[in-house]
């Protein structure tokens, strides 16, 4: 059953397309040598080029181009060997040149696709229309002074990839899943850090509504939404607004709107409505961007494994589809898992990562990127279990000690003497003492109360402070009971 919103006149379908601005991961800006790091003091990461000074000229950063190509390849998209930069002309306080250098007519990446996963376990393909490179603008601060806005140009000229989807999404959930998946792919590729709260990923959300079987009705663009949750809310809020207009006999006007996160509604953005006429034309400072197929092939060959492929590989390793999905959501989790699982039982590794490790991360408020237990240590812990040095119970104890101290399992085992006892002679001596101290129970056992076997094992383990190898203890109890 597909998603609809109920209006007075019956169900409405939602049509959503997204334009995502993703900040390219690079040291320097797209056309200047100024740095891109987040959070620097105002106007300290600005060159004369970024500030639009007279006579300044752009020179393109190869890595930004490579990142766009990698992303295009990751989106299974067409890479255009010939692309071009155009100027988008408009006046704005944080646009120093009076134009944005962008790729309007000839983008570097053409059509591609993303497969999204939905909560009910189904998947859906969302088309990618294009990806192009462009400059970011500076930042205006409106709340610092009663009558003035402050302009910081640190972001001015930072490389962005604008990734445009087809209007293929039909629900807030699908829009959220698309953004989640896109961010996952970008992070796997290392082409964008996806930190939406730092503004490295923003979405323009195009929404329209329609009755079943209709063509497209007028859409509105909700600008610059900066979290996945807000995108989902904005889709629904904007769709409800449009349904109301249509149902009241009105007409939806095509316009750009803002999502008011506090009130959960969209509102018109009149300041940017002023006669949109961007007068695009080829930037005469920049000859066409011509790529060698060879170079694209090299980038393709060096591409990391992407989430879809990785998930499939994990399933092939014996993990459940669910575990494979969870472990591949973040590339850091997958990397952690791979380190633990290397040369070991994948299923056991997955259980430890998704169980004890995730719990420890939650408890200690850390992250998979800076985990409370190093992946290498968890791997060694699994080895110690496998070779019998640690029982499952001891292993949990060692794990907790690792979380507390950050030390290696070997060191903890040595220091706390947690090594499992596998010396059958020593075990049998303890078993003998236990049987001797519980002669009555031995008699009961021998008269047929076989349930008491567990009691003897337990007492032995207790006497050994849990360090007895369970299998050997079992064997010894069985042997001495005769």
């Amino acid at each position: 059953m597909s998603y609809t919103l109920e209006g007075r006149t019956g169900p409405w379908e939602i049509v959503v397309g997204l334009e995502v601005h993703a900040q390219v991961t690079s040291n320097a800006k797209l056309f200047s040598g100024a740095a891109t790091a987040f959070g620097a003091a105002p106007n300290t990461q600005v060159s004369f080029i970024d500030a639009g000074f007279p006579g300044m000229l752009p020179v393109i950063n190869r890595e930004c181009v490579a990142q766009a190509v990698r992303t295009g390849l990751g989106l299974k998209a067409q890479i255009n060997l010939w692309s071009r930069f155009d100027r988008k002309n408009y006046f704005y306080a944080d646009l120093p040149q009076g134009y944005q250098i962008s790729q309007y007519a000839h983008p570097i990446v053409g059509e591609g696709a993303i497969e999204i996963e939905l909560a009910d376990g189904s998947t859906k393909t969302v088309g990618i229309t294009r990806l192009h490179l462009e400059q970011d603008a500076g930042k205006s601060l409106h709340d610092q002074h009663p009558t003035k806005s402050y302009i910081d140009l640190n972001r001015s000229g930072v490389a962005l990839m604008e990734i445009v989807s087809e209007p293929d999404m039909r629900s807030p959930e699908e829009a959220g899943a698309y953004l989640t998946k896109l961010r996952q792919i970008l992070r796997y590729l290392g082409t964008c850090d996806g930190n939406m709260d730092e503004g490295s990923m923003r979405a323009d959300v195009n929404v329209s509504v329609r009755k079943a079987g209709e063509g497209y009705r007028t859409r509105c663009e909700v600008k610059n939404v900066n979290s996945i949750r807000f995108v989902m809310q904005a889709v629904e809020a904007e769709a409800r607004r449009q349904i109301e207009i249509w149902e009241e006999g009105g007409t939806v006007e095509q316009e750009t709107r803002l999502f008011d996160t506090a009130r959960g509604v969209t509102r018109s953005m009149r300041s940017k409505e002023d006669a949109h006429d961007y007068r695009y034309f080829p930037d005469p400072d920049l000859p066409p961007l011509v790529l060698e197929q060879n170079w694209v092939d090299q980038l393709k060959a060096s591409l990391p494994e992407l989430p879809d492929e990785r998930r499939a590989r994990y399933v092939a390793m014996g993990l459940s589809p669910y575990d494979a999905h969870v472990l591949t959501l973040e590339k850091e989790t997958a990397a952690y898992f791979e380190t633990v699982a290397k040369g070991r039982d994948a299923k056991i590794a997955a259980n430890w990562v998704m169980g004890d490790l995730f719990a420890a991360i939650n408890r200690t408020r850390t992250s998979i990127a800076e985990p409370p237990v190093k992946a290498e240590y968890l791997g060694v812990l699994l080895d110690l279990m496998k070779d019998g040095t640690l029982s499952g119970k001891l292993a949990k104890e060692v794990f907790e000690a690792m979380v507390e101290t950050g030390r290696s399992p070997g060191a903890i085992v040595e220091e706390r003497g947690l090594r499992q006892v596998t010396d059958t002679g020593a075990i049998e001596r303890i078993v003998a003492q236990v049987l001797e101290a519980n002669a009555d129970k031995v008699a009961e056992y021998k008269s047929g109360k076989e349930k008491l076997f567990g009691f003897f094992v337990g007492q032995t383990m207790k006497a050994m402070q849990g360090k007895g190898n369970p299998a050997l203890v079992n064997e010894a109890v069985k042997k001495l009971l005769g």
Binding site: F53, P54, P58, F91, A93, Y99, S149, P287
Partner: protein, 495 residues
């Protein structure tokens, strides 16, 4: 002989032989500027103290035996080139207080080679003009005057009017200039000096205030062809900071001046015979071709069929690019800001740009904005780009059979400061012979070749293949030798 009468090459030789110091040479020019600039208005900013300091440092370097190719040579810099720490106005009120913290690549190259900067010279506002009357710092006067009408003040041409007037009046041994549609060659011709617009990409545009990026090229003006060759050698070169800079070697242009023209095929485009062109210009053209034939060249009639469309094409392409290039002058980061008490941002922009730009700049921004606007792009801009391609193709075809092309440099001699001012299109016709080389990206050299009946200089133009300035210099030098142009303007230093 007065020190300001040296050719640039002559001055270098005199400096090398110890006949004169850079300080003496510089001081002589500064004295000339002090005397004549109040009338000519060629310099916007005179850098007297800095120039003398540079000259002293230069003399010291020479004494130590480390002299660059332009060691101690006093030059004028068009006020379109950003000079670190020195006011750079582009001839506009909007940059009237702008002090760039950086040095343009071309001027930095000249400093690297030992040059001394006398000051920043006047120009049409943002290099938009052919008469140097659009400058916010007042018009420049041509140091030449009509023999039969000495009181009428003449324009020096534009936009590099200050560069050409300063060099002609001996207020500099040479000057930097820029050429977007003829702004080096037309003023050079009007002032009786030489000037070359090199191939697009030969000189870096980094640090040069942009007018129309796909057409702008820096080049030198000087009193001889060889002096231009020496200056261009220093100014030119690959610059990684300019994506349109050509990564090609810079040859010894001065050596090419002595090559001669024997065996060269010289194209004579029939479309350049304009109706209504003064007979003297046609005669001078024919004379120039005869000189070349006398020296062993062959002249061939060629056709450049799209010539007549070059000027209107230019007046779409250049304003379109300019409308975008000049958007950065908005009163926020540098330059003039003009606002009312209750101005919002849009009003601030509009007042700043209305007060900061002169009428010609506004006109071109308006035209450029219009031809790029929604619904008109294809009819104007795209159409112009296609015709531009046809103009380039005309030249490609011609250069399959000829080695260089010779034409008049301008359709008239210098005109009076009050003439031709009413109608923009009439003013635009000044560039009719020069603009094709900009559209096709080719090198073009103006050489003084004779005088008209009123004693005003007239020039011929040599156009060459892309990156073949050497042939252009060879042909130009051959014309210069034959013309033996010795006339001097009435207003000049040292008299």
């Amino acid at each position: 002989m007065h020190p300001t009468d040296f050719s640039l090459r002559g001055a270098i030789e005199a400096l090398n032989e110890g006949l004169i110091s850079s300080v003496e040479l510089t001081r002589a020019h500064l004295d000339g500027i002090e005397k004549l600039n109040p009338r000519l208005n060629a310099y916007i900013t005179v850098m007297a103290e800095q120039a003398l300091a540079q000259a002293r440092a230069s003399d010291a370097r020479r004494a130590e035996g480390v002299a660059g190719p332009l060691e101690g040579v006093p030059l004028a810099i068009k006020d379109l080139f950003c000079t670190a720490g020195t006011l750079t106005t582009a001839g506009s009120r909007i940059l009237g207080n702008f002090v760039p913290p950086y040095e343009s690549t071309v001027s930095a190259n000249l400093l690297r080679d030992g040059a001394v900067f006398l000051g920043k010279v006047n120009l049409d506002e943002f290099a938009m003009g052919s008469s140097n009357t659009t400058s916010a710092f007042g018009p420049v006067e041509n140091p030449w005057s009509r023999a039969n009408d000495p009181d009428t003040r003449l324009v020096p041409g534009g936009s590099s009017g200050g560069s050409a007037a300063a060099v002609a009046a001996r207020l500099a041994l040479g000057a930097t200039a820029t050429d977007t549609g003829g702004s080096i060659r037309q003023p050079a011709a009007f002032c009786g000096i030489a000037g070359i617009k090199p191939t697009y990409g030969r000189c870096s545009r980094w640090g040069v205030v942009a007018f129309a990026s796909s057409l702008d090229q820096a080049g030198p003006v000087a009193r001889t062809v060889e002096d231009c060759a020496i200056l261009l050698k220093s100014m030119a070169g690959f610059d990684p900071k300019d994506s349109t800079s050509a990564d090609v070697p810079v040859p010894d242009f001065a050596a090419a001046c002595a090559r001669g023209v024997k065996g060269l095929r010289i194209g004579v485009p029939k479309e350049y015979r304009l109706e209504g062109m003064p007979a003297e210009i046609g005669a001078l053209w024919e004379q120039g071709l005869q000189w070349l034939r006398d020296q062993g060249a062959e002249t061939v009639e060629i056709s450049l069929p799209h010539t007549k469309y070059a000027l209107p094409t230019y007046y779409i392409v250049a304003p379109a690019e300019a409308s975008s290039n000049l958007a950065r002058y908005d009163g926020v980061r540098f330059g003039l800001r003009e606002a009312a008490k209750d101005s919002d941002l849009k009003d601030l922009y509009e007042r700043t740009r209305a007060a900061g730009f002169g009428p010609e700049v506004k006109r071109r921004i308006m035209i450029g904005t219009y031809v790029l606007s929604a619904g008109y792009y294809d009819a104007y801009y795209l159409k112009a780009q296609k015709i531009r391609a046809l103009i380039k193709r005309d030249f490609d075809d011609a250069f399959r059979t000829v080695d260089a092309i010779v034409t008049p440099a301008t359709p008239s001699a210098a005109f009076g400061m009050d003439e031709k001012q009413d109608d923009p299109v009439t003013m635009y016709l000044n560039d009719v012979f020069t603009v094709t080389a900009n559209l096709a990206g080719l090198p073009g050299l103006a050489v003084p070749a004779g005088l008209d009946r009123q004693g005003l200089p007239l020039g011929l133009q040599v156009i060459g293949r892309a990156f073949d300035e050497e042939t252009v210099f060879a042909v130009g030098a051959a014309i210069e030798t034959a013309a033996d142009f010795r006339a001097v303007p009435t207003l000049r230093a040292g008299v």
